[in-house]
Amino acid sequence: MWDFPIFPKQASTVASSVDNLTLFILSYNVLITAGVFVCLIFCAVYFRQRHKDEVGEQTHGGLLLEISWAVIPTIICLVTFWWGVKVYAELVVPPADATDVYVVGRQWMWKTQYPTGHKEINTLHVPLGKPVKLTITSEDVLHSFWIPAFRVKADAVPGRYTTLWFEATVPGEHRLFCTEYCGTEHSRMIGKVVVHDEADYQKWLTEEAEFGDALQGRKLFTKLQCVTCHAGESQAKAPILEELYMKRVPIGFDKGSPTAPGTSVLVDENYLRESIRYPSAKIVAGWQHPSIMPAYDESLVSEDDLFQVIAYIKSLRRGQTPPRIEATTQPRALGAPQGK
């Protein structure tokens, strides 16, 4: 019975950074708490009233003390804050070569989608020693995706994407929890992260892989009529979407107001998502407002499908947009690990 864990295992590259910071804060917490308790007990005993009517020293303060217990904690706080920011930067900035995995939360399960197009429920397979970036959203209410062994967490917010990344360092299974209360079965919205070493992961991928996300997305691109406007031809009715991801595009109109000349936005997943769900929110400079592009809401494109369309747009290289007739080469799934 006494054999129970007190501290979670460290299974990602950032875990030890987080724990070191924890230990730093803990160490002065313990010192200060111990100091306060010792001082309390000492005063209560040593300075107790010893005979009737005795009063304490009638002093009112001490400037030096008052200044020092304002200044010293301020310094400690600033150090902690800064250290916290550094660890946070490690936690939120994914390396450029991270493998993409998409996660959709819904009452009460986690759906994961891999670059290969494979989908799972409540399980996340990741390679050992390779950075993995999760792009997370929700189909209904708020959820939060937490892997304690990795010390990472991000909320799943309907209507937008949040991201989280990690690099697993311990093979095997780790727990996965929903930490944002989401209704009846919240405590059953749990799962596991399976960390494979490189060879196993490749095997798992090839066994499970059917169609790449981007490939699926390409089919949707035609099926949803995107291609009728976003064709590869110069006289197309809409901007060409090739090599768009992570570029800055100039915009002329933003959420109800014309923008200053020179305004641009970074094309990330959230922007692509917004361009598809609410095309008129931001208009590419030179195109008319409101956009002629129909708003693709959930009745037209589900959250799962949307991930695939976006994966496709991300994968589009120069000259790869199909003309309106299917004739081009198959896209490469972006971020999928290459075989050796």
Binding site: L78, K153, R188
Partner: protein
């Protein structure tokens, strides 16, 4: 009249007042109507105390049910739905109906005018109305629970609360909306009272620190509470009329709700904790028989906390996808509240140093308060630090942290205040050994309940979990065992204090030898109009003289 209970006990002198019974606020009228329609701040304070104790018992029962369910990892006692409704009820009742009004509405109402040398608060009718609003709000909330409960958590996050939950969200929201006005009106009343009704000579820097704490609290109540009223109204618009504000399917933004909610609910934490901080200052100086260390620092830090509390709300949202720059900004600002809180703890220790400390039961509660508040405050630093909060957010670590601050702080502070002022409020003394035992049970039980939860949180137990992994059971069992001890520590004073109020030995006017007007210029219990004549103040508070305490002059 300067001697303290323990000295009198030591001398074998009963610390009682054997004069024939006089007309007091308690006995001058005896009908039920004379209570329910009273404009007397003292009676209103007592009525708040009674209604809050009722809500506290209810919230406590819910807490007991939660802890019982969590003895085993499997959800074998309750259904998930019932469990979720239970913790929602526990949170709503404890936060809105107990912690927020705890000290200001009961002790604040009763004591603050006495401390000012005033006959009542500035707007006695408004004061009575506040109590009725409290009761109506409570009725709505209890009604919602009888109708089948609410399962959104006390935070009402959208779109769960606005679209997906099928509980009685709107009934509770209506109750809290009404209750909010009780809080706003009390804040307004207190601010005007403190500005306008101080006795001659009672300048701002002669105010007892409890009054400063209430003043700072009232500012938050007045400025913050309207925001939660607006937020609940918007929630209602979306839920009832389908206006898209928070649900992205309707074009809304769920994060907006969090911003609005915490814009009130973070400062609300300081509505809960500032008044007990003021109580602790009174206790520490009185029982150390020494002037408070750094009066201006303590008064100033109360105001600083009140102001800073408004600019840190997004520390509840570090994982919600807000911009990393916003997160950094709010993290930094959050540390700014840590400093004045730390200053308070250090000044209490400075006050005790070279004091002449009388270890009576109110001081025991003050020790417990300081200890728990210190742990609660310091563990907050893990959560204001970005690098660690990402891991700890929404886990049992947070649950432990805020119980240390809110229960260890607000409730233990309230208990200390009640033991301190009980002889003033009811003119009778309680059983001192029992009181010390209760203080001990509360402190020990509290730590046993909540300390393991820090470990659980770091280890990986999310909050609001009906079921949890088996390896986390041992610490949950500790926690539940602690809750039993803690419960005992709460029940005891309910019994012996109530007994004392009716049948305890009579207390003298100033059994603790305190120096503020509430003790020196009024009887225990006070007469219906508090003072005979207008008290005049001639010096700063907290001067303890070794022979007789200076009685404040009464000008007739």
């Amino acid at each position: 009249m300067s001697t303290t209970v323990s000295e009198l006990k030591a001398k074998g002198v009963p610390f009682v007042n054997n004069e024939p019974s006089k007309v007091t606020y308690l006995n001058h009228e005896n009908t039920v109507a004379s209570w329910l329609l009273t404009l007397d701040h003292k009676r209103i304070g007592v009525m708040y105390l009674i209604s809050m104790t009722f809500m506290f018992l209810l919230g406590g029962i819910f807490a007991g049910i939660i802890r019982a369910e969590l003895i085993t990892p499997k959800g074998d006692m309750l259904s998930s739905d019932f469990y979720n409704k239970t913790f929602t009820a526990h949170g709503v009742i404890m936060v809105f109906f107990v912690l927020i009004p705890a000290v200001p509405a009961s002790l604040g109402n009763f004591i603050m005018p006495l401390m000012l040398g005033a006959k009542d608060v500035a707007f006695p009718r408004l004061n009575l109305m506040s109590w009725y609003l409290y009761v109506i709000g409570a009725v709505f909330t209890l009604l919602a629970m009888l109708l089948g409960g609410v399962d959104t958590g006390w935070t009402f996050y959208t779109p769960l609360s606005s679209t997906y939950s099928n509980g009685n969200v709107m009934v509770v929201a209506a109750g809290l909306f009404i209750l909010g006005f009780s809080s706003i009106l009390t804040g307004l009343n207190f601010i005007v009272t403190i500005h306008r009704m101080r006795a001659p000579g009672l300048t701002w820097f002669r105010l007892p620190l409890f009054v400063w704490a209430l003043y700072a609290t009232s500012i938050i109540q007045l400025l913050g509470t309207p925001v939660i009223a607006i937020t609940l109204s918007l929630l209602g618009l979306e839920r009832v009329l389908g206006v898209g504000i928070f649900d992205p399917r309707l074009g809304g933004d769920p994060i907006l709700f969090q911003h609005l909610f915490w814009f009130y609910s973070h400062p609300a934490v300081y509505i809960m904790i500032l008044p007990p901080l003021g109580v602790a200052s009174e206790l520490v100086t009185t029982f150390s028989r020494k002037p408070i260390f750094g009066y201006q620092m303590i008064a100033g830090s109360s105001l600083a906390i009140a102001i800073f509390s408004f600019i840190v709300w997004a520390h509840h949202m570090f994982t919600s996808g807000i911009s990393p720059y916003a997160a950094m900004f709010f993290s930094l600002l959050t540390f700014s509240v840590a400093i004045p809180s730390g200053i308070k703890v250090f000044t209490w220790l400075g006050t005790m140093w070279r004091g002449s400390i009388v270890n009576d039961s109110p001081m025991w509660f003050a020790y417990g308060f300081i200890g728990l508040f210190t742990i609660g405050g310091l563990t907050g630093l893990f959560l204001s630090t970005l690098g660690t909060d990402i891991h700890l957010h929404d886990t049992y670590f947070v649950v432990a942290h805020f119980h240390y601050v809110m229960v260890g702080g607000a409730i233990v502070g309230l208990m200390g205040g009640l033991h301190f002022w009980w002889p003033k409020m009811f003119g009778r003394m309680y059983n001192e050994p029992l009181a010390k035992l209760s203080a001990f049970f509360v402190f020990a039980g509290f730590n046993l309940t909540f300390f393991p939860q820090f470990l659980l949180g770091y280890l990986g137990m999310p909050r609001r979990y009906h079921e949890y992994p088996a390896e986390m059971q041992v610490m949950n069992v500790f926690s539940t065992a602690g809750a039993l001890v803690l419960g005992l520590g709460y029940i005891m004073p309910m019994i012996y204090l109530t007994y004392a109020a009716f049948w305890g030995p009579k207390a003298s006017k100033n059994p603790w030898g305190a120096t503020t007007l509430d003790w020196t210029a009024t009887d225990s219990p006070p007469t219906p109009h508090n003072f005979e004549g207008q008290p005049v103040v001639t010096e700063e508070p907290y001067h303890y003289k070794s022979t007789e305490n200076k009685e404040h002059a009464l000008a007739h």
